[in-house]
């Protein structure tokens, strides 16, 4: 098993522990060993705290990265926001002047940023380190015939020069991940839109989500598969708001990819926290009778 430092951030461990549980269950089955980072803080978030002071934001991000450097490990995140902050910090701190500035602050707490720990989102890590075939082989009950729309969100892929993950205009990584659990990815017309969470304006996210959910409904997807807890909150809690505002009914359960993988790997539906969602992916249960379910 290859070890990687796990940076869980805030939103998943605090508000969506089922997602953390799914990651801890699924990665070891793909040959990835999870090493916890002691003393990590918020990444800090790329929307709010970054808006206050980019240098302080970079300094705290650099401190988080030094925790992984101490262990000599690369880092993976489970949230697109953390991915954005830590990847950007890793990129910006290649600049000598900025790194020196940040290191002057880190010196106050006896730390030094070196830039030796690379950062990846867990989806990218799985693609690069395990591969789609390993995902396919880990599945004991493929979600055959289940139509899934994908919401890439923004920070897995963009800015593409920093993320270097996939073509942001025509990505395939999540389609391949969905195929690897046996489901059928369906591309909806508004697949490239953002969730709108960062926008401090009432109408923009509402209109955007309305447009997006409409096209997901058009392609008759059973689930909206995503890889970010912020996008998840927008499409779960936020979906109720949009439905009310536009007097429309989509009923599209958003599901974090690694919970789907955990289910496909045999973890029972009841153990995956779906009861906490406003829109529950009940259609998954048609695979429950599969003899392959493992007791966990």
């Amino acid at each position: 098993m290859k070890p990687f430092a796990f940076f869980p951030g805030c939103l998943i461990p605090v508000r969506y522990p089922a997602m953390e549980f799914a990651i801890r269950q699924t990665l070891p089955k793909l040959g990835i060993e999870i090493v916890d980072l002691e003393g990590a803080s918020c990444c800090p978030d790329p929307i709010y705290f970054k808006s206050k002071d980019k240098v302080a934001w970079l300094s705290v991000a650099a401190r988080n990265l030094t925790l992984a450097e101490d262990l000599g490990l690369d880092v993976f995140t489970n949230c697109s926001g953390c991915t954005a902050t830590l990847s950007e910090a890793y990129h910006l701190l290649k600049n000598d002047e900025l790194r020196e500035k940040v290191n002057r602050r880190l010196k106050k707490i006896g730390r030094k940023y070196k830039g030796t720990s690379r950062v990846r989102h867990v989806a990218t890590l799985v693609r690069d380190e395990a591969g789609y075939d390993a995902v396919r082989e880990s599945v004991v009950r493929p979600l055959d015939g289940m139509k899934m729309a994908i919401h890439y969100g923004c920070h897995l892929l963009k800015p593409s020069k920093i993320m270097n993950v996939d073509d942001p205009n025509n990505p395939e990584v999540l389609e391949k991940m969905v195929e690897a659990i046996g489901a059928t990815p369906v591309r909806h017309r508004n697949w490239y839109l953002c969730c709108g969470k960062a926008c401090q304006h009432e109408a923009i996210p509402l209109n955007m989500m309305h447009a997006l959910l409409g096209t997901v409904k058009d392609v008759e997807a059973e689930i909206l598969c995503l890889i970010c807890p912020t996008c998840f909150s927008q499409f779960d809690h936020g979906q109720m708001k949009v439905a009310k505002h536009f007097n429309d009914d989509y009923h599209i359960p958003p599901v974090y990819y690694f919970q789907l993988l955990a289910y496909a790997q045999g973890i029972p539906y009841d153990k995956l926290g779906f009861d906490r969602q406003r829109f529950k992916p009940e259609s998954l249960q048609r695979f429950a009778t599969s003899s392959a379910q493992v007791e966990n």
């Binding site: 461990p13 003393g39 929307i47 980019k54 705290v60 910006l92 602050r105 209109n207």
Partner: protein
């Protein structure tokens, strides 16, 4: 919203170079200088698509003209940006309008102007080192999934990082 003023004989724009200098001191705040106003950043901008008030090219133009007083205000249009980075993908000049916008927000913060929700989340982070508040219910939920309780963040370290080092160049020189 007032459009960026264009120079003509009666109304010659005086560029506020001080505003531009302050902006250039922010990380990647100087990138707007490379903007040649092509508008490539606008087409895929979701905020521009769903709001008539927001246009990244226009914000870059205001920066070039030094019209800080139109951007650094309460309820600034800057907060309509969704941080999606489409503009940065499209810009042929590597301007990264989104980063210029965040640098402008850093200037708003220097003036102590924030939307209330933003200020609240920043406050939670500065107090606890996390943006999502903890509570006993959080640990109970975690326990249900066999996960250990959340650990406190070493705030002594974080607080020190939020302040400039004694030998750090003064940004507001």
């Amino acid at each position: 919203m007032t459009k960026a003023r264009k120079p003509n004989n009666d109304d010659v724009v005086k560029v506020d170079f001080d505003f531009r200098r302050q902006l250039a001191k922010k990380v990647e705040g100087n990138l707007a200088s490379f903007c040649y106003q092509c508008g490539a950043c606008v087409g895929d901008c979701p905020a521009a698509t769903y709001s008539d008030e927001f246009n990244p090219r226009e914000i870059m133009l205001k920066v070039l003209y030094g019209l800080g007083e139109e951007l650094l205000v309460e309820n600034s249009v800057l907060w309509q940006c969704t941080n999606c980075y489409n503009c940065a993908e499209r810009c042929p000049q590597d301007v990264k309008p989104v980063e210029v916008i965040i640098s402008l927000k850093n200037m708003l913060a220097d003036l102590n102007i924030y939307p209330p929700t933003v200020e609240k989340i920043i406050g939670t982070f500065e107090k606890t080192g996390r943006t999502t508040p903890l509570s006993p219910a959080v640990d109970r939920q975690r326990e249900r999934f066999g996960l250990p309780p959340m650990k406190p963040v070493p705030m002594d370290e974080i607080s020190k990082l939020l302040e400039p080092a004694s030998d750090e160049e003064d940004d507001a020189e």
